[in-house]
Symmetry: C2
Subunit: 218 residues, 2 copies
DNA sequence: CTCTTACGCTACGCCTCGTAGCGTAACTGC
DNA sequence: GCAGTTACGCTACGAGGCGTAGCGTAAGAG
């Protein structure tokens, strides 16, 4: 747990021919390891996942894992982060209400996958005592998802559905708030309440977010 | 992990003189174990917490732990659940807005404690693969907190701030939604974004929840 | 005083962790 | 080609946690 991968950002194979000498890291091994990690997560879950097992599945020596990642948490973050990169665009559905529903359903679809379900919570739990890990999660997963909120809000402002903020600072605070509300609600619904994030729930949630408790037609 | 504590609800000492024969479980040992668990959580976090260590802190044999709890997750749920029982009333602050802020600040205060921070997320993560554990979390923690939402909503309806629901089913769905939004947002803010749930944020959140995105004065 | 259950203690086999050491493979610069 | 450098696979290892078994003893019920 004390080893930090020496060259470049961890998980990325050393750049070829960039002045770096010696045998380069195998990019294929990287893919195999991250894939094996996701596979093991599905079958075993976070608790019973062992690095020995991942190494065996990937057809790689256990020592190679430790040469690249400091521990289980770091490996799993990278393995799961790749999944969150799939849908980072937000199709314009014509209204704020529809855009919210779209982003919620997409996010929920990610959380439904067995490899993300367990992994995300476990890694977040671990990050409460590990600042470096939390930073890694933010840059690899959270901040990218937050981007979707910024896009959707900007569109709504152009449509005239939302007012423009007075100051950049207030805008940032507001965006953070909305992100916490959306992401938090979906995660809580899916993982704590363990109820489906389906069409009906998503519509109710978007209604609530747009209109609030007070402005509710019932 | 295959052992289920035989008599009565786990974690509670056998009722004295209730037809049960033999030596009763020590209630004092129970307190010592749960206390030691919380203490160990603060110092070590979920990942490095070991049952051997807890037993040593509690001045109890390791075997006693396994006689009462099936594993680490179950023990930690009980240890943390006791903390959530402290504030289960909701003082009437005069308005829906104020009541929301009150419940958010209380919930946040619980999450600020180092023993709950890590433990809650870790246990939820584990529960995604263990239905019995999830049920235990619900009854010991989640459902009790949800009660606060029901109380606050009822008050708001009596004040005329919120309309009454048409059907009991719709009311239940709506309450579940609100609970997921509040609890999810606070947890996400505190643990994922790792930003303080302070007075300012709480006010913004309550504004958003009551008035919605659209009805925002800015 | 017997029956029943809980407790403390010791010991154990199994597994995972994370590291060290070694010989070999791959790629770079001369 | 050859030396230098880095990554890899393999084996082995000590440390430590897990969960259980067995035993003798303590604490209540009838």
């Amino acid at each position: 747990m004390t080893y930090a991968p020496p060259p470049g950002p961890p998980g990325r194979p050393g750049q070829r021919g960039q002045g770096r000498t010696g045998r380069p890291r195998s990019a294929e091994a990287d893919r195999a390891i991250l894939g094996a990690t996701r596979e093991a997560l599905v079958e075993l879950g976070w608790g019973k996942l062992t690095l020995s097992d991942v190494a065996a599945r990937a057809g790689v020596a256990k020592t190679t894992l430790y040469r690249r990642w400091a521990g289980k948490s770091e490996l799993v973050v990278d393995a799961v982060a790749a999944l969150f990169d799939e849908h980072l665009d937000l199709p314009d559905l014509g209204s704020l209400q529809a855009d919210i529903q779209g982003v919620v359903l997409r996010f929920a679809a990610l959380l439904e996958r067995p490899e993300t379900k367990t992994a995300l919570m476990a890694v977040v739990a671990e990050s409460t005592r590990d600042d470096a890990l939390r930073a890694r999660i933010r840059s690899a997963i959270v901040d990218r998802q937050k981007q979707l909120v910024l896009i959707g809000r900007e569109r709504a402002q152009e449509r005239g559905e939302l007012p423009y903020e007075e100051s950049p600072a207030a805008a940032a605070r507001h965006a953070d708030l909305i992100f916490d509300v959306i992401a938090g609600a979906v995660v809580h619904r899916a993982l704590v309440s363990a109820e489906p994030v389906d069409e009906a729930w998503t519509r109710s949630f978007a209604d609530l977010l747009v209109g609030g408790l007070a402005g509710r037609p019932v």
